[in-house]
């Protein structure tokens, strides 16, 4: 039912199926959450590493 509704509204990728979980020692984390956390780390690193040059230079 959820899948049908999601398709109708144009949810192009259906995430309502059962999730995948990664088990590492006592840690259990969903793939979705792991992706978000990795993206945050990558974004942070990109933000501090990518050069930031303003037009107009230094005054």
């Amino acid at each position: 039912m959820t899948a049908a509704l999601a398709l109708v509204v144009g949810a192009l990728i259906d995430l309502s199926g059962p999730g995948h979980y990664i088990h590492w020692g006592f840690i259990q984390i969903s793939v979705g959450n792991l992706v978000v956390i990795c993206l945050m780390v990558v974004t942070f690193l990109a933000a501090i590493l990518i050069p930031y040059h303003r037009r107009g230079g230094r005054s």
Binding site: L39, M40, F44, A46, A47, R54
Partner: protein
């Protein structure tokens, strides 16, 4: 009684005889701490040369999207999204705006931590940021409780144990949908927005924290605090 003309009044001249007024005192406080050039600056220190500095604004952009999409959901009520395709889209917009809000806020937090942005009398800026984070978690929890689906049922019946264990459950009943919805759409958004405004005003009054320097600029007058 001295007379003033309209130009003087609008310029906020402020006569000595009116100095005890609450209005005059408030205006004086605002003018001293947030003159227009500081409230809405058009210059920034040259050390602000990193993409990490945009994450505060990104967080606020996401907060604006959360409120806008939440407002759209409010137009039709809390169960609209189960039976309407437009409603489902607006609900999705609200969910992903919240994910983006926390995403940008955490990256902003990491940046501010590694910059030790509390330095130079800016501890209150850090603290209001932390309080906003906590209030946002509360807003998120009550939002999940307002979904009117299995997830709300699950989260409410699980969360009740932690909340009851410390006595808060006697007053904050996560199983009471009406109460949780009203906390979510009224009390907590107002709290998050109010503390965010305070946070931003503190950034404006103190200025953006200068880079970490291991030595004082002038050891003779190694004053602490200061605005940088």
């Amino acid at each position: 009684m001295t007379t003033v003309d309209r130009n003087d009044v609008e310029a906020g001249v402020g006569l000595p005889e009116d100095a005890d007024q609450w209005t005059a005192k408030i205006r004086g406080f605002l003018m001293r701490n947030l003159p227009p050039g500081r409230l809405i600056p058009d210059r920034q220190p040259s050390y602000m040369a990193s993409w990490i500095y945009i994450f505060g604004a990104l967080t606020m952009g996401a907060l604006a999207m959360v409120i806008l999409s939440g407002g759209l959901l409010s137009l039709e009520g809390p169960t609209w999204w189960h039976t309407s395709t437009v409603g489902l889209f607006v609900n999705s917009l609200h969910l992903w705006s919240v994910e983006l809000f926390f995403f940008f806020m955490v990256v902003h937090l990491w940046g501010k931590f590694f910059m030790a942005a509390w330095r130079g009398n800016r501890a209150l800026t850090w603290m209001t940021g932390v309080i906003t984070f906590m209030a946002s978690i509360g807003a998120g929890l009550t939002g999940y409780l307002s979904q009117t689906n299995f997830d709300s049922q699950w989260i409410s019946t699980q969360a009740k144990d932690g909340i009851n264990a410390v006595g808060i459950g006697a007053f904050f009943n996560v199983l009471n949908f009406g109460q949780m919805l009203m906390w979510h759409i009224m009390i907590l958004p107002l709290a998050v927005v109010a503390i965010t405004i305070l946070h931003v005003l503190l950034v404006r009054t103190r200025g953006i924290v200068p880079p970490i320097e291991l030595e004082p600029a002038d050891p003779a007058t190694a004053a602490t605090g200061g605005e940088g």
